[in-house]
Subunit: 195 residues, 2 copies
DNA sequence: CGCGACGTTGATTTGCCTCAACGATTGTGG
DNA sequence: CCACAATCGTTGAGGCAAATCAACGTCGCG
């Protein structure tokens, strides 16, 4: 049970679970070790799990029809990563989800966790609240992308997620920010402006 | 009760509600008429309602520090509109939510609907499922914005939402697609390519 | 009618991309 | 433990998509 403290602790920041509910939940959790550069989701396959990152880092990305990579999200400890569209529709994925480091994840299978959301009200609440939060933040990102210059977006990210920015390869960060790796390099070389 | 069929019908596409639950829910709904160009959310004020559009159209937008408008979302019948970040955190809004036509909305106050999500499991499920869906789609939009040219984005939108595209002013659509009104005009003037 | 909201069109500018070549660092097999 | 290849980052020249600025149609409404 102690091994699941990370995720249980995270859940209990939003809702309360009885001991019985905790057991039910942890009983369907599968712990998986993933090596750097390995994929846990690939285009064409259905994303079957909600993946909770216990240790490590992942990126979600896709390759457009000109062959260029676009990072959709970057996740570290205590985040969920998946091709969410694929997961909720149980349809083939369009994204890759790849480990950026040797990692450990908790996997909850669609067929196990979705019925459990029917059964356990608190669990449903947890996912509702966290998804609403993620959704609200994702809107902010759309805005940031559309209304700000590349340098400003980079500075903003640095301020908000300094640890992540220095943990992932630069070309991943660049493709997340929607700019080319070369241009990000040039931005970083620029003389610092007054803060 | 019949007056609430639009929203109840929408909810029942996802979950089942007992008659008692329907009454509880509709009892907290407030029907509001909104005139074209009127605001239901403004920066600085807390967004207190989940707003369900019964009739009409709205846009959610914000003004960046260069004074330019950026449309975050466009909603028509059966959609929810709000400054979602403001709503879930009950913090001052940064967005405007404005009627594009004379409209009718159902408003559910935060203090009424949130406790009801604790109480009524089906309602919680409904919001969980719809938000997850909205979130998954919003990711697709991020991608579309970052990996495609302006013309392609416009054509895509036309195909997906032909009714909306012809219903809202062009400058609103332009600011939603992340391009200038002038440039959208030029795209539309372009000779049609082979489809 | 006349004004404000919306759309168009053209000239010019610019932020960022592309391509190409070159360091620096890591890691891996002989 | 070294050699060589990946992997990742840097730098510069040139190009293009889209922004900006400015002026001018057009429609609908008070």
């Amino acid at each position: 049970m102690e091994q699941y403290q990370t995720i249980l602790g995270n859940i209990e920041r939003y809702v309360q679970l009885s001991d019985d509910e905790k057991h039910k939940l942890t009983s369907i959790i599968r712990t998986t070790r993933v090596k750097k550069r390995q994929f846990i989701v690939q285009p064409g396959f259905v994303c079957q799990y909600r993946n909770y990152i216990v240790k490590g880092a992942f990126r979600v990305y896709y390759i457009n029809n000109e062959g260029k990579e676009h990072t959709v999200s970057i996740g570290v400890e205590d985040w969920f990563v998946s091709d969410f569209y694929s997961y909720i529709n149980q349809a083939p994925a369009t994204f890759y989800v790849q480990a950026l480091e040797d990692s450990v994840i908790f996997q909850m299978h669609y067929d196990d966790i979705e019925p459990m959301c029917e059964e356990i009200h608190a669990l449903c609440q947890y996912f509702r609240l966290t998804t609403e939060k993620a959704f609200a933040y994702s809107r902010r990102r759309v805005i940031s992308n559309n209304s700000k210059g590349a340098e400003e977006r980079y500075q903003e990210y640095l301020e908000k997620y300094p640890n992540i920015a220095n943990r992932v390869p630069q070309y991943v960060l660049a493709s997340y920010l929607g700019i080319s790796a070369e241009f990000l390099s040039k931005i970083r070389a620029r003389p610092l402006k007054k803060s």
